[in-house]
C-alpha cells in the first residue's frame, strides 16, 4: 500500500495542470522494467507536461466537460486491492466461468481472481507487467509510438502511469476458439483511485482470437479508469473484440482502443456503455494493409446525469479497405450522448468502402445527443456513406402496442429494447449475447409492470 495523504482541494481552487497531477501522483513505477520503458515514460511525461488537459475548445473534446473529473484528488492505487474483492463479484461479471480470464483491480493484476486455462500452443495470455519484467522484448514500439495529432494528455498519462494490463499474443496460423475475458475492476476504499491499465493484443498472421473487456467497479469513492488497449493485427489475422463498460456512476472512464490492421485482416469491435458519470470510449483504427476490414459497433445508454462520448476515428491508409460503423444511443433523463465519428481516407487509399451510421433515441425532454459524422476524403475512387438520426419513440407504434392491451410503460420499454436489439443481434456468441442482453434489459426495464428482464 502506498502512503496516502489527503489532498482534498477547496472548491474554488482551479483544476490542476497535467504537471501538477503528475507531480501529485508520482511517476515512478513499481517493479523492474527495461531501460527503454523508463525512457518512454519520461518522454510521455515531458510530452504531457508541456500540454494541458483537453478542454471543450479541442475539437475532439468539444462535448465533454472534464471539470468534475479534474476536481477529484485521485491517488494511485496500492497493490493487493484484489484481495479485498470477492471471487463472487468476478463470477457475476464473467460471461463463461470456464473461460481464460485475467482480472485487474485498479489497473493491477489480481492473480488470485484470474483463471488461466490451457490454451493452444503459440498463445500467450498473461499480464503485461510480467512480460515487461522479463525485458519486454519487441514491445518498445507500443510504448514509444510518436505522439501524433490525435493523441492527448490522457493517452500520454496512461504510458506514464500504467504498470499493468493484459498481454495477449497469438502466433501465426493459431486459432483461439473460446473468448478470453479481461475484467477491469475499480475498487476505491477510503480515497479516490486512478487506474491506468494498458493492454496489448498481438494477433499473428492468419491467427484468430476473441477478447472481451469488462469494466466494472464497486461503489464507494470516485474512481478514474484511464485505459489504453492496443491491438495489432498481422496479415490475415481476425480479432473479435467486445467491451462492456458498466462502472458505477461514481466512476470516470477514459479509454482508447487503438487498432492497427495489416493486409486482409479483420477486426470487429462491439461495445456497450452503461456506466460511469463520464465515459469517453475512444476508438482509433488505422487500416494499414490492403484489403483490411473493420467493423465498429457501439451501444450507449446514458441516463441520470451520465455522459457518454464516443470519438471514433477510422483511417483508411491502404487501398481496398472496408470500414463499417454503427452506433446507437438511448438517452434517458438528463443523460448526454455523443457520437463523434470521423473517417479519413488518405491519398492512395483507392477502392475504399466506408460507412458510418449513428442513430439515437431520446427518452426524455432533458436528454441530449450530439452527433457528428465526418468524412475527410483525400483520394478518388472511394465509396463513403454516413448518416445520423435522432428521434423519440414512434408514437404510432406505441399506440399500436397499447391498443392491443400492452400497458404504456411496458410498450415504451418494448420499443426501447427493440431499438437496442439490432446491436445485440450483431453479437455472434450466444453466451455473450445473453450476458449483454441481460445487462441492457435490466437497464431499460421499467418498474411495476412485470416486464423487467423478460423483454426478449
Amino acid at each position: 500500500m502506498t502512503t496516502v495523504t489527503s489532498t482534498a482541494r477547496a472548491a474554488a481552487t482551479p483544476a490542476p495542470t497535467v504537471a501538477e497531477l503528475l507531480s501529485h501522483l508520482g511517476v515512478a513505477p513499481r517493479g523492474p522494467g527495461p531501460a527503454w520503458l523508463t525512457q518512454a515514460r519520461q518522454a510521455s511525461v515531458e510530452w504531457a507536461t508541456a500540454r494541458r488537459f483537453p478542454t471543450r475548445k479541442d475539437e475532439d473534446w468539444k462535448y465533454t466537460r472534464l471539470g468534475a473529473l479534474l476536481d477529484v484528488p485521485f491517488e494511485r492505487a496500492g497493490a493487493g486491492a484484489g484481495r479485498r474483492v470477492s471471487p463472487d463479484t468476478i463470477d457475476a461479471l464473467s460471461i463463461d466461468a470456464t473461460s481464460t480470464r485475467l482480472v485487474f483491480v485498479n489497473g493491477l493484476f489480481a492473480p488470485e481472481l484470474s483463471l488461466l486455462t490451457e490454451l493452444p500452443e503459440g498463445v500467450t495470455v498473461t499480464n503485461l507487467a510480467s512480460v515487461l519484467a522479463e525485458g519486454g522484448a519487441g514491445l518498445e514500439p507500443f510504448f514509444s509510438r510518436p505522439f501524433g495529432e490525435y493523441d492527448h494528455a490522457f493517452t500520454a498519462l496512461n504510458i506514464a502511469l500504467a504498470e499493468d494490463g493484459a498481454f495477449i499474443q497469438v502466433a501465426a496460423d493459431t486459432l483461439v476458439s473460446a473468448p478470453i475475458e479481461l475484467v477491469f475492476l475499480s475498487d476505491a476504499q477510503g480515497f479516490p483511485i486512478i487506474a491506468s491499465p494498458r493492454s496489448l493484443i498481438r494477433a499473428g498472421p492468419r491467427s484468430r482470437v476473441t477478447v472481451v473487456e469488462t469494466y466494472a467497479g464497486t461503489t464507494g469513492d470516485p474512481t478514474c479508469t484511464n485505459a489504453v488497449t492496443q491491438v495489432l493485427l498481422d496479415e490475415g489475422a481476425q480479432v473479435e473484440h467486445y467491451k462492456i463498460q458498466d462502472e458505477p456512476e461514481s466512476a470516470f472512464h477514459l479509454a482508447l482502443l487503438d487498432v492497427r490492421q495489416g493486409p486482409d485482416s479483420r477486426f470487429s469491435s462491439g461495445s456497450v456503455a452503461l456506466g460511469s458519470k463520464i465515459a469517453r470510449n475512444e476508438v482509433h483504427v488505422r487500416l494499414e494493409g490492403e484489403g483490411a476490414k473493420v467493423r465498429i459497433d457501439g451501444l450507449y445508454l446514458p441516463g441520470g446525469d451520465q455522459h457518454h462520448d464516443n470519438p471514433i476515428l477510422i483511417e483508411h491508409a491502404a487501398p481496398r479497405c472496408t470500414s463499417r460503423q454503427l452506433y446507437k444511443g438511448i438517452v434517458d433523463e438528463r443523460g448526454h450522448g455523443v457520437f463523434n465519428g470521423r473517417i479519413i481516407v488518405w491519398p492512395g487509399a483507392s477502392g475504399t468502402d466506408a460507412s458510418q451510421t449513428n442513430k439515437n433515441l431520446l427518452l426524455s425532454d432533458h436528454a441530449e445527443v450530439d452527433t457528428r459524422p465526418r468524412l475527410e476524403i483525400l483520394t478518388d475512387d472511394v465509396k463513403c456513406t454516413h448518416g445520423a438520426a435522432v428521434g423519440a419513440l414512434d408514437e404510432e407504434a406505441l399506440f399500436y402496442l397499447r391498443s392491443r392491451g400492452v400497458p404504456h410503460e411496458a410498450a415504451r420499454a418494448l420499443l426501447t429494447y427493440a431499438f437496442a436489439r439490432e446491436m445485440l443481434d450483431l453479437i455472434p456468441s450466444e453466451s455473450l449475447r445473453t450476458h449483454v442482453e441481460t445487462l441492457v434489459a435490466s437497464r431499460l426495464s421499467t418498474d411495476g409492470d412485470g416486464t423487467g428482464g423478460t423483454l426478449r
Binding site: E396, A397, F399, L401, R402, G405, Y417, A420, R421, T451
Partner: protein, 260 residues
C-alpha cells in the same frame, strides 16, 4: 347497447374531422361504414380505439361506460379492438413475443391466468390456421417486411387471439386479392357471435358479400349521413357517393390528417 356514440366531434388543431357522429351498435350486430376518402371513417375508428392525437367532444359509451375516459390499453382490456388500416411495422419486437405480451396483459387485467409459452403457441397455431398464416410469421418482427395482405391477416390473427367484444375493421379489405379477402372474411366470421359486435369500414361492397352486415352507414363530411339495411351498400356500389351531394365534396378539405 354495446357501443353508443353521440354527437362525437374530433379535431386536430383547427381541422375538425368528425362533426357530430351518432351511432349505436348492439351486441351480435355487424355494421358496415362506407363513404368517400376523407369522410372521417378512420378517424372514428382511431377515436374509439383511444388515439391521443385528437381533441374530442361528445359521448362514447361502451357497455354503458364512458370509453373516452379510458387509455388505449384499458379499452383493449374492456374488449375494444381495432384492426388498423395501415398496421405499423415494429422492427426488433418479435410477433410471438408481442402477441403473448398483449394477450397476457389483457388476461391479467381481466383476472384470468396468463398463458405460458407452450400454451400460447398452441392457441396461436390454432388461430393461425383460421387466417392461413405460416408459423414463420411468429418469429419475425411485428409486421416488418410483411406484404399488405400479410399485415391484414396479422391484424385478424390478433383479433382472433384477443377475442374482443367490439372489433373495428378499418379497410381491412383494401389491397387484398380475392383469396386473401376470403381468408380475412373467414377469420372475421369465425368470431361472429351473439356477444360480439363488429364495425366494418370499407370502400367496397365486395367485402360485404363475405361479411354480411346488419346495418350499413354512409359517412360524409365527418358525419353519418345515411343508414340502412345491407341493400344500401349495393345502391352505393351502383350510384357511388354522388347522390350524397354537396356534403361530400365540400368536406374534402377536411380529410387532411384523417389517416394518421
Amino acid at each position: 347497447m354495446m357501443l353508443q356514440i353521440e354527437n362525437l366531434h374530433a379535431k386536430i388543431g383547427d381541422n375538425e374531422i368528425l362533426r357530430g357522429v351518432n351511432l349505436e351498435v348492439a351486441a351480435g350486430e355487424v355494421h358496415a361504414i362506407m363513404g368517400p376518402n376523407g369522410s372521417g371513417k378512420s378517424t372514428l375508428a382511431n377515436v374509439v380505439a383511444g388515439h391521443e392525437a385528437y381533441d374530442i367532444t361528445g359521448t362514447v359509451l361502451f357497455e354503458g361506460e364512458n370509453l373516452l375516459a379510458l387509455s388505449p390499453e384499458d379499452r383493449a382490456v374492456a374488449g375494444v379492438f381495432l384492426a388498423f388500416q395501415h398496421p405499423v411495422e415494429i422492427p426488433g419486437v418479435g410477433n410471438l413475443y408481442f402477441l403473448r405480451t398483449a394477450l397476457n396483459s389483457v388476461r391479467r387485467r381481466r383476472g384470468l391466468a396468463e398463458l405460458d409459452v407452450m400454451e400460447f403457441l398452441a392457441l396461436a397455431q390454432e388461430r393461425m390456421k383460421l387466417v392461413e398464416m405460416d408459423r414463420s410469421f411468429m418469429n419475425r418482427s411485428v409486421n416488418e417486411g410483411f406484404s399488405g395482405g400479410e399485415k391484414k391477416r396479422n391484424e385478424i390473427l390478433q383479433m382472433t387471439i384477443l377475442e374482443p367484444k367490439l372489433a373495428i375493421l378499418d379497410e381491412t379489405d383494401s389491397g387484398l386479392d380475392i383469396d386473401a379477402l376470403q381468408i380475412v372474411a373467414g377469420g372475421v366470421n369465425a368470431l361472429r357471435g351473439p356477444d360480439r359486435a363488429m364495425v366494418v369500414i370499407t370502400h367496397h361492397q365486395r367485402l360485404l358479400d363475405y361479411i354480411v352486415p346488419d346495418r350499413v352507414h354512409v359517412m360524409a363530411g365527418g358525419r353519418i349521413v345515411r343508414s340502412g339495411e345491407k341493400d344500401l351498400a349495393l345502391e352505393l356500389e351502383e350510384h357511388g357517393y354522388a347522390d350524397l351531394g354537396q356534403e361530400v365534396t365540400s368536406d374534402r378539405s377536411a380529410s387532411v390528417g384523417a389517416t394518421p
